[in-house]
């Protein structure tokens, strides 16, 4: 059984009357890349900022490495790497200056022995120029500096909020390699994104958040392979068929309807057998379609 490294328990956060997240629970295992996906405003950043104790939780708790993660648990913080969605650093410093400053906070922790070496490795792989001033950096280079800062102390838990925005495709590839290497070393990545294609490329498990609530969590393979198909049927009694299955029709042309199906194939076929089917086409949903399905199926009145 996988060892849990981070556990978010019943997290609720409201901004006044506006819901940030409600009763959200999820667990991250050691040595996995967990994709945390949802549209803008779904509650991803609220969740992450609650974990990082940047905002106050209304209720719920966060357990890291077996003990509650409080805002002043500096030992725990030394084992976490954080990349915010927008990287803001001290403009007056050079890249070298900010890295030196960062290193100075980790002198008394076990990572101190390797932090400089790791920094040099990351700088080389991400092709960063340490002599440049932070204020002169492009969005992409600033993001790369943020990545080095999140990884150089070799944290057990790496929390990243929209990490690839601003990175060119070549750097994205290097970045994915870095994350896989971290995972293979047993470290855990909490990867928040709204870019669906990233999830299939990099994540082992995924949690889907919408309107502040976790609506699905599981292995990427399971979610994308098994639980959603798109069915196109041409039948004589198509209205009755739709009523029987209780599905939402995506498109209709005469006697032909297309709908999303979450029933197992054998159950679907048993139900369809009651009708005279002239033509049937079952497509496996792509990961993107899968996520879109989950985004759309929660009624709006839940928001």
């Amino acid at each position: 059984m996988s060892e849990t490294i981070l556990e978010i328990k019943n997290l609720t956060k409201y901004y006044g009357k506006v819901k940030g997240v409600e009763n959200l629970s999820l667990s991250l295992n050691k040595g996995e890349i967990f994709g945390f996906i949802g549209p803008n405003g779904a509650g991803k950043s609220t969740t992450i900022r609650s974990v990082m104790n940047l905002i106050n939780k209304d209720s719920g708790s966060v357990v890291f490495g077996g003990r509650e993660l409080t805002r002043d648990d500096v030992e725990a913080k030394s084992r976490i790497g954080y990349l915010p969605s927008e990287v803001f650093l001290y403009d007056d410093l050079t890249v070298k200056g900010i890295f030196d400053h960062h290193e100075s906070f980790y002198g008394k922790y076990p990572c101190a022995a390797r932090i400089h070496e790791k920094r040099q490795e990351l700088v080389a792989r991400l092709k960063l120029d340490e002599t440049r001033k932070v204020e002169d950096l492009s969005l992409g280079n600033l993001k790369k500096v943020g990545i080095v800062l999140a990884l150089m102390h070799e944290p057990e838990l790496i929390i990243m909020d929209e990490p690839t925005s601003g990175l060119d495709p070549i750097m994205q590839k290097v970045f994915y390699e870095l994350l896989r290497e971290e995972r293979d070393k047993g470290n855990t990545v909490f990867y928040s994104t709204h870019i669906l294609s990233e999830v299939s490329k990099i994540c082992d498990r995924v949690g889907i958040i919408r309107s502040g609530e976790l609506i699905k969590a599981g292995q990427v393979d399971e979610i994308s392979d098994k639980q959603l198909t798109f069915v196109t049927v041409t039948a004589d009694e198509v209205d009755a068929l739709v009523a029987e299955l209780g599905v939402k029709v995506l498109s209709r042309e005469g006697d032909t309807v297309r709908f999303a199906n979450t029933l197992p194939d054998d159950e679907l076929i048993k139900k369809l057998a009651a009708f005279r089917i002239r033509k049937i086409f079952i497509e496996e949903a792509t990961l993107e379609e899968m996520f879109m399905h989950y985004y759309e199926e929660v009624p709006d009145d839940k928001t």
């Binding site: 104790n53 940047l54 905002i55 805002r71 030394s78 803001f88 007056d92």
Partner: protein, 263 residues
């Protein structure tokens, strides 16, 4: 953390201190010509035309303007209290808040350092700069006045210490109020307004018995330059109340900051 904060805040400190030194230097260079050939006595005579309450508010009833030291005891220290007070209040309201305003707080909060330590280190740096400013300006006044005349050095030394009392309170007040907002822009007007309001309350409180209560609303009451000039001693109440207010406001700031939403 302290090293970086010292570096970041050095420029502001140098600009404020240098500006005040230049202004004081100009006054000390020009003052002898103002008071030469008995003109100083004429200035003093002219002051008798002013209402006694007003003269009292600026210590002009107990310090003549016929010497540079006399000017320092009256108008000079008003200027010093105000400028050092504004610097202190602005430093207090900005030093922690700027991390939020400039959005570097997400980086800082992820580092293995407690919020208390962040605030404490910034307070230490602020105190270093505020006290350094007071020491430098005090030393400059002592040296400059001893070159041009023979002031009462004990009184001058004690007066040079007095800006400490209102300044540390104004610093702590600025820091505490800054925990209620996320933008340094908002705090600029508030800080300057606070200092001027404190100064005006102090002036008003000198105007008569019925308005004496205003002194309790002003940090500048703690400077008590009048008491130092008259008794050549610091008032024990100021020595006690100022650090107590400073400590209480800092404690409130710590409590507020500990629970503050940083983004």
């Amino acid at each position: 953390m302290i090293k970086r904060e010292l570096k970041v805040n050095l420029r502001g400190f140098v600009i404020w201190t240098a500006t005040m030194l230049v202004l004081l230097l100009l006054i000390y260079l020009v003052y002898p010509s103002i008071v030469s050939d008995g003109k100083g006595n004429k200035v003093n005579e002219m002051l008798t035309a002013f209402p006694p309450e007003l003269l009292k508010a600026f210590n002009m009833d107990i310090a003549g303007l016929d010497t540079a030291f006399g000017w320092l005891k009256s108008e000079g220290f008003v200027f010093l209290y105000l400028i050092i007070g504004i610097y202190s209040c602005l430093l207090g309201s900005n030093i922690v808040l700027k991390e939020e305003s400039e959005k570097t707080i997400e980086y800082l909060a992820a580092l293995p350092i407690t919020r208390r330590r962040v605030v404490a280190d910034k307070i230490v740096v602020s105190m270093i700069y505020i006290l350094s400013m007071i020491v430098i300006l005090g030393a400059f006044n002592i040296v400059a006045l001893n070159i041009s005349e023979t002031p009462d050095n004990k009184q001058l030394l004690l007066l040079s210490i007095t800006p400490v009392f209102p300044s540390i309170v104004l610093f702590a007040l600025g820091l505490f109020i800054s925990t209620f907002t996320h933008k340094t822009k908002k705090m600029l007007g508030i800080s300057i307004g606070l200092v001027f309001a404190a100064y005006i309350f102090n002036v008003i409180s000198e105007m008569g018995k019925s308005v004496e209560g205003f002194k309790y609303l002003s940090a500048f009451t703690l400077a008590d330059s009048r008491g130092v000039i008259m008794n050549s001693a610091l008032k024990p109440a100021c020595i006690v109340i100022s650090p107590v207010l400073f400590a209480v406001l800092l404690a409130l700031a710590f409590v507020r900051y500990q629970r503050k939403e940083l983004v």
